[in-house]
């Protein structure tokens, strides 16, 4: 059962993700069922932004190489096959925008958060570990033929 914090935060994270993709990537994402305490997906690239304040945790974004290149191509107005070198920066910026928009929406709910600059991890076999985790919520999104994921990690203060 979702806590009050999760019930406040997860819908706002979904709204933030949809807004960022609609506005910057010109893609209408379709959210799938929210997965509580799910394992992070297999992905080639992960962007992460930590947040601190009245809540502590992280917002992470996961994509395959193909999905990441498509996102970068849309952001930069180039072809996906030309986007490989820009993909990590693009995923970092998308994660930053999702987290920043989430921060603004949480402020409307009375939560004051500060966010860090994004970090990006690329590889084929990695998993992000956090300490003092109270919940990990994973939201899958369909992006055309691709699937991307956003994860909300909440930590004890």
């Amino acid at each position: 059962m979702a806590t009050a914090t999760e019930s406040t935060a997860v819908p706002r994270l979904i709204e933030s993700t949809l807004e960022v993709f609609e506005t910057m990537v010109f893609s209408t994402l379709v959210p799938g069922p929210v997965r509580a305490d799910a394992q992070p997906p297999a992905a080639s690239v992960m962007g992460a932004v930590r947040f601190l304040g009245s809540l502590s945790g992280a917002v992470s974004f996961y994509a395959s190489d193909d999905a990441g290149c498509r996102i970068a191509a849309q952001l930069l107005g180039i072809e996906p096959q030309e986007a490989g070198e820009q993909m990590a920066d693009a995923v970092g910026e998308i994660t930053n925008m999702i987290a920043g928009t989430f921060r603004g929406r949480m402020a409307q709910a009375g939560e004051t958060l500060m966010i860090t600059t994004p970090t990006v991890t690329r590889g084929s076999d990695f998993r992000a570990h956090y300490f003092n985790v109270t919940s990990r919520t994973l939201v899958p999104f369909a992006m055309g033929d691709h699937q991307v994921f956003v994860e909300l990690v909440l930590q004890a203060a």
Partner: protein, 110 residues
């Protein structure tokens, strides 16, 4: 973010775009006197957007140069800090090309 902004500027008809990777490089470009408008991110390496704008306002060549800041920091205290540093207006990420164009046009019309 720099390349995203540059791509958006091209979409709205800006042709002569000079890019700088951080605030320090931006100051060098502004110092040439050949820049008519500055669009800067808040988060940049070496010298962030606020530091860049404060330094820029201290230069004779750019004391009145229009400066638009792009940021995810949309809290009123953040915006107040940006304006205090010398930013003329701001655009909150995510933003559309139309929003960027409207903000730039309004600043140029002042």
């Amino acid at each position: 973010m720099r390349k995203i902004i540059a791509n958006t500027l091209k979409k709205i008809g800006c042709e002569d775009i000079v890019e700088a990777g951080n605030g320090a490089e931006g100051l060098q470009q502004v110092g040439t006197g050949a820049i008519d408008f500055v669009v800067t991110d808040w988060n940049m390496p070496v010298m962030n957007g606020l530091e860049f704008v404060r330094e820029l306002r201290g230069l004779q060549t750019s004391a009145t140069l229009p400066v638009l800041m792009v940021t995810t920091n949309a809290e009123s205290s953040d915006i107040a800090g940006a304006k205090e540093a010398g930013v003329n207006d701001y655009v909150v990420k995510p933003f559309t090309a139309e929003t960027l164009k409207e903000k730039m046009s309004a600043l140029l019309a002042r």
